[in-house]
């Protein structure tokens, strides 16, 4: 659901709940919103979602996220005040058997405050895939982009410079981490995650397949593959005739007495075979491509 819509509906519900004095409902709804927001933050950072079924509290989940980020980047995402607020209000909401009344309005208010404080945290997305174009944007690695001329050169060149690029990325990463330890900056944090992803993508380079989105029909490379079906047909028949010819030739070698008898067959087999080869070359030339 889009955030402005949530805001509008939450506002409406708050008005109604205050009018009906149904603070429990408001408290529950805001708790769910906080839980959902925490899940979103966790997932974007590549952390497992909160285990609600196993009774993992929101405060415990926040603590876990903080611990992971502190170990990896030396930063604290959720401030101690926010964490404490969530922990206290969550405990009240979950442990209280009776519904909330007017005296607990402060708890509901605090929960809403916590929710909007969580909304303020701009968390970058760890899953962001990095394309080769993005590498050029990174300072210090920019200079290396001129090596990428031609596909073969790119492949060989990249193989050679990969350790160098990895080293540069690692240095950048360390710098960013050091800065993050001093103060939290969402943009810097995002850059750090991006660098980590680039490093991983370099370390696990793929086989160079053509990646397609949507339908194959729209892909230009696929269209070319389809256009070669006629050539494949010719190759198929050339191969079939060659196999037949190979058997006849083997027979002539094994039984020289039969060589005279089978010589017309060799003509019948290799004659059309040669014609098909010529036809294949003609097709290849007209298509502007000799290769398979």
């Amino acid at each position: 659901m889009k955030e402005p819509l949530i805001d509008l509906q939450l506002k409406h519900l708050t008005q109604l709940c205050i009018a009906t004095q149904n603070y429990s409902k408001l408290g529950s709804v805001v708790s769910i919103l906080i839980s959902n927001r925490l899940d979103e933050i966790g997932i974007k950072l590549g952390i497992k979602p909160r285990e609600k079924d196993n009774g993992e509290s929101m405060a415990a989940y926040m603590e876990m996220i903080n611990r992971i980020l502190h170990n990896n980047f030396g930063l604290t995402l959720f401030s101690p005040t926010l964490h404490e607020k969530v922990r206290y209000n969550e405990a009240v909401i979950t442990r209280r058997s009776k519904p909330l009344d007017c005296n607990h309005i402060e708890i509901t208010r605090n929960l809403i405050q916590c929710y909007y404080e969580l909304r303020k945290l701009d968390v970058p997305n760890l899953y962001q895939t990095i394309s080769s174009e993005e590498i050029i944007e990174i300072p210090n690695v920019k200079v290396l982009s001129f090596l990428s001329k031609g596909r073969a050169k790119e492949k060989n060149g990249m193989k050679g410079i990969t350790p160098l690029v990895l080293q540069k990325i690692r240095d950048e990463e360390r710098n960013a981490e050091r800065q993050l330890q001093n103060h939290y900056d969402p943009e810097l944090f995002e850059r750090t995650l991006q660098l980590k992803t680039i490093r991983k993508s370099f370390q696990n380079q793929k086989s160079g397949k053509i990646t397609i989105e949507g339908s194959l029909k729209d892909n230009i490379n696929y269209m070319r593959t389809k256009e070669r079906l006629m050539q494949y047909l010719l190759i198929g028949w050339i191969l079939a005739l060659c196999m037949l010819g190979a058997v006849v030739l083997t027979q002539s070698i094994l039984f020289p007495a039969t060589a005279f008898g089978v010589s017309p067959y060799l003509l019948v087999i290799f004659g059309p075979c040669a014609l098909l080869i010529l036809l294949y070359r003609y097709y290849s030339n007209s298509g502007g491509d000799y290769t398979l």
Binding site: A19, I32, I43, E213, L216, G236, Q251
Partner: protein
């Protein structure tokens, strides 16, 4: 262009059917005629049955000329038939242009290639290892025997059907294999992936229902306004303190 692919798919299916049927036809015919033109020997080789003859066992001349038994492994026929059934299924059921099936299609690409290789085996290896080594000549030869008979060595329908089937199977198989190995489906867009995960993880809230319930309660209680003065103050305090992002 789609039509071209459809034609080749049809040719492929036809080729697979032809290759399957070929296994049940006779593959080699060994026959002899007297100088008068009377057929005195006729032996036909079937891949499943071995040598068969329409003559009775009392026809001693026919029995005397029975070719040696060909030790053809029957299991290969069954493997080939099984692979062809899978190939036929893949050819008919899998639409390569639907990129979502590319991963599944890759496995069938290997099956298609296996079909093609086995077809090549029947065309190239079987005649050399099972016919020529038994002195059964290829593809058609006539020998005059000193015993005043004329012997015909002939490769039969089964072999030729297999030969034509190879030519029919080859283009679509190669197209299928190349497409499945060259292309891969791009991962889903990031936003879509994240929203799918979140959808499974997050607790859904039906604001419309909650609002409607509160409205009904409000109406049932018969309150004159949406909220009274005391609650209005509380709500305004909310708005002041909640610190919108």
């Amino acid at each position: 262009m789609t039509e071209l692919k459809t034609y080749f798919k049809f040719i492929f299916v036809f080729g697979i059917c032809m290759a399957s049927v070929s296994l049940f036809f006779q593959w080699y015919t060994f026959q002899a005629f007297s100088w008068e033109g009377e057929q005195v020997v006729l032996w036909e080789f079937h891949l499943f049955l071995g040598w068969t003859t329409p003559f009775s066992s009392e026809a001693w001349f026919n029995t005397a000329y029975q070719p040696e038994n060909i030790p053809f492994p029957l299991i290969i026929n069954f493997i080939y038939l099984g692979i062809m059934i899978l190939s036929l299924y893949a050819g008919l059921a899998i639409n390569l242009e639907d990129a979502s099936q590319l991963k599944k299609a890759k496995k069938y690409g290997y099956i298609h290639l296996s079909t093609l290789l086995l077809s090549a085996y029947y065309i190239c290896i079987v005649p050399v290892y099972f016919f020529l080594f038994q002195e059964l000549y290829f593809p058609y030869l006539i020998f005059s025997d000193p015993e005043f008979i004329v012997i015909h060595y002939t490769v039969s329908q089964g072999y030729w059907l297999q030969f034509f089937a190879f030519g029919c199977i080859f283009p679509y198989t190669l197209y299928f294999a190349i497409t499945t190995t060259r292309f891969e489906r791009a991962p889903k867009p990031l936003e879509q992936k994240i929203s799918e995960i979140l959808k499974n993880v997050q607790i859904p809230i039906d604001f419309h229902q909650l609002i409607a319930e509160e409205r009904i309660e409000l109406e049932n209680e018969g309150l004159p306004a949406l909220y009274d003065t005391k609650d209005k103050n509380i709500f305004e305090q909310f708005l002041r303190q909640r610190e919108r992002p």
